[in-house]
């Protein structure tokens, strides 16, 4: 179930047709689930280019507390350009995934450097030593092959091991489409690895859902990191994309995920406009670049904020209960304890009604 299926909308902009990152033309998302040895983890990747000849994309980045480990940081920050898929993987498997991308690139894709792997901390569910031992290149190759249209949500890919607000987290996505009447119809899509967040802080469109949730407070050592990828077809240059990335936090704060205790997280923002590689063979040392004017930026920022906000709620709502996989026999006691603390999904019993009434009352007051 997604947020809009509950009759709840947030924000003022309209979503794209699928209300997903894949509404940005050409963008593909893939997940691979990893269940070996009782693990509940996986890898999620975003392939942000539509055209192999234009896969050098401008990129921006924003981080909370420096962010989780992310490879390819030098190129992303210093050049503001990437040419590789974005991989979201459990932290303990970052080296394997990185190496797998190198191996993959050596064979068939020389552009694939440096690999861009964002580590997401799912150690609340998965013992890192087990992740380290069991995640293999084969999983990465399956993820690369799985990239396709509408991205799955909830307990899939990297979403399988996440927890947030004291319940199951997951992968969520949403999109916003700027009104054609007010300029070009750019689309902004977001994908959030929903992880972290204090149980009491969950908010839906201003209504404090978390205040009445019957969940225990998080353990002090519960992972509190999040990762976000924002993609747009608006032509933006790296500096502008840094700021677009930063606007994710506005949406994350509205829903309560981004709070004082959320330790770290990274937001990547990409423009699919791309640099034309075909010209590289030409004589010119310059390359044409387009960028939106200042006047267009506020609407794009708003779109990023709204898409991120709704992505978090979609991720929570789409999550499945954590299956009893027997992994506890292999895991450290800390993992067992954390695992138990967030194995149930977000209940939808009472709060959707209350949110709808709250929204209706607010509309009446405004009229």
């Amino acid at each position: 179930m997604r947020l809009r299926d509950l009759g709840i909308t947030t924000g003022s902009l309209s979503p794209g047709p699928a209300n997903a990152m894949s509404d940005v033309p050409g963008v593909q998302v893939g997940h691979v689930d990893i269940a070996e040895g009782g693990l509940s983890t996986g890898i999620t990747l975003v392939v942000p280019w539509a055209d192999e000849a234009r896969r050098r994309l401008f990129a921006g980045r924003w981080s909370v507390d420096g962010g989780d480990g992310m490879t390819g940081l030098g190129m992303t920050e210093d050049f503001g350009v990437i040419a590789t898929p974005v991989m979201l993987a459990p932290v303990a498997a970052v080296g394997r995934v990185y190496d797998g991308l190198i191996a993959h690139g050596q064979g068939m894709d020389p552009e694939l450097w440096p690999p861009l792997v964002v580590g997401v901390d799912d150690s609340g569910v998965n013992p890192p030593a087990l992740v380290h031992r069991l995640v293999r290149e084969e999983h990465l190759f399956r993820a690369l092959a799985a990239a396709g249209g509408h991205p799955g949500e909830g307990s899939t890919g990297i979403g399988r091991g996440l927890s947030a607000f004291g319940v199951r987290g997951g992968v969520g996505t949403a999109s916003r489409r700027l009104d054609e009447g007010n300029g070009p119809a750019y689309t902004v899509g977001a994908l959030v690895a929903v992880n972290g967040g204090e149980p009491g802080n969950l908010m839906v469109d201003g209504f404090p859902v978390g205040a009445s949730l019957a969940v225990e407070s998080l353990q002090a050592d519960q992972p509190r990191s999040l990762s976000v990828v924002v993609v747009t077809d608006a032509p933006l240059i790296p500096r502008q994309l840094d700021h677009l990335a930063s606007r994710a936090t506005v949406g994350l704060a509205r829903v309560g995920l981004f709070d004082a205790r959320t330790r770290d997280g990274v937001v990547l923002a990409l423009s699919t406009t791309g640099l034309d590689d075909a010209q590289e063979r030409g004589e010119s040392s310059t390359r044409p670049v387009s960028l939106v004017g200042d006047g267009e930026l506020p609407a794009l920022y708003a779109a990023a904020s709204e898409a991120c906000e709704e992505s978090v709620l979609n991720g929570l709502l789409q999550a499945n209960p954590l299956p009893d996989t027997g992994v506890t026999a292999l895991s450290a006691s800390a993992t067992q304890r954390r695992r138990a603390a967030a194995s149930r999904t977000l209940s939808t019993e009472d709060w959707p009604d209350e949110v709808r009434r709250f929204q209706a009352a607010r509309r009446r007051r405004r009229q």
Binding site: P235, Q279, S284, R287, P288, S290, V292, D294
Partner: protein, 402 residues
């Protein structure tokens, strides 16, 4: 003495070479710099010392980048004991304009970099937010940031009364280094109109160096220094681009001074400051201009290369330094707009521009040393000029000069 009269005194003493005189007064070769103590001064290249392998532009100055203009206001007044509010005064303002039009309506791409943050460049918020420079860059002494900012803001608002009504709201980019050793810093002698005059004085062409403008009270490697500039023309994949650097140098311990690998500061270990007051200023400001079409991320890479030029002169960037860089490209003017901008940017061959920045920064710092004359300021504090005869002799001894 009223403000205008005061300004006039300063101008008559030190700033005239910039304002009124043509290239004759600044032609290559040894020329007489004006100041309390005069000795023949030169540019590094006039001494036969060549930095790097690239060719400078016609003026070997930041103004070789077409459209870029530089103006100085130099304030030198009084001698003897410090009397706060009365002097002695040893400061000024240097303005660097990316172009002489309305910058706030026609901004250019820009970026900045902090090497060590014990310093100030105002206006970096809008510069970073938009990746564009829409205001003059002004260099002055630490205590004068406020009036210079204020004057520049007035100038911007006069040119563009709509400055605060659009999405692009540039602010003056005002940098500082500390002139406390020579200057009545607490006396608040710099006024907003000095900043405006520095902007209005800005011209293309030759740039006065040494104890002028914001560099008036400054020293580097414990020799008198101040403003220095240099430029390079380089070929990036078939296109020739000009890149220029202007520094306000107020950094460095004597023993660090290095020229082409020669430990000049070790060889000339005397002529240190006659310490009559604090000596804590250790900062370098570098302004980098290029006509190469570069995006803000690329311009930030140029800022990093300025650090390398600085390092070649021996600087280590101390903990108390405010070593700050700003770079801009004059290639594209990007007015505030809701329209798409379609531009070309350098994609290959940027290394030639990197090399230009490294070489020009190194030479600009050394030019600030060779151009500045010995100066005596408050309480009789004296900063010696780098003695050019001994400098040349050292360079000869190490085989760098014939």
């Amino acid at each position: 003495m009223d403000r205008r009269q005061f300004l006039g005194v300063g101008l008559s003493l030190a700033a005239l070479p910039v304002l009124g005189c043509g290239p004759a007064a600044l032609s290559p070769g040894l020329h007489q710099a004006v100041g309390p103590e005069t000795a023949p001064r030169a540019r590094l290249r006039d001494l036969g010392i060549r930095i790097g392998s690239l060719t400078p532009g016609p003026h070997n100055a930041i103004t070789d980048v077409p459209g870029v203009a530089v103006g100085h206001i130099t304030l030198i007044r009084g001698d003897g004991p410090l009397k706060v509010g009365h002097g002695p005064v040893r400061t000024g303002v240097t303005a660097v304009l990316a172009h002489q039009g309305d910058l706030s309506r026609e901004p250019v791409f820009a970026a900045d970099l902090t090497l060590n943050g014990n310093g100030e460049f105002t206006g970096l918020g809008p510069l970073r937010r938009t990746g564009r420079l829409g205001a003059p860059i002004l260099l002055t002494d630490t205590e004068s940031i406020g009036p210079v900012y204020d004057g520049a803001m007035g100038y911007l608002l006069e040119l563009n009364p709509e400055l605060f009504s659009g999405p692009f709201r540039p602010e003056p980019v005002v940098g500082e280094t500390w002139a406390i050793f020579l200057h009545d810093a607490a006396g608040r002698h710099v006024l907003p109109e000095h900043a405006v005059d520095a902007i209005r004085n800005a011209r293309p062409g030759p740039v006065a160096e040494g104890s002028v403008g914001g560099g008036t009270g400054m020293r580097a490697y414990r020799f008198k220094a101040g403003i220095g500039t240099a430029s390079r023309v380089a070929d990036a994949s078939g296109t020739r681009y000009t890149t220029g650097v202007l520094v306000q140098a107020n950094h460095g311990a004597r023993s660090h001074l290095t020229v082409q690998g020669v430990p000049v500061g070790v060889e000339i270990a005397d002529l240190l400051l006659e310490e009559g007051g604090g000596d804590n200023g250790k900062s370098l400001l570098a302004v980098i201009a290029t006509d190469a079409p570069l995006l803000p991320v690329q311009l930030q890479a140029l800022c990093k290369r300025a650090i390398m030029g600085m390092a070649r002169t021996g600087a280590i960037s101390t903990h108390s330094s405010g070593d700050l860089m700003v770079a801009f490209s004059t290639a594209h003017r990007l007015p505030p707009s809701t329209e798409l901008h379609h531009i070309d940017v350098v994609y290959s061959g940027i290394d030639a521009i990197y090399q230009s920045v490294v070489e020009a920064t190194e030479e600009a710092i050394l030019n600030s040393l060779t151009a500045a004359s010995t100066m005596v300021g408050r309480d009789g504090n004296r900063i010696h000029a780098l003695p050019l005869d001994r400098f040349v002799a050292v360079m000869r001894r190490y085989g760098r000069l014939k």
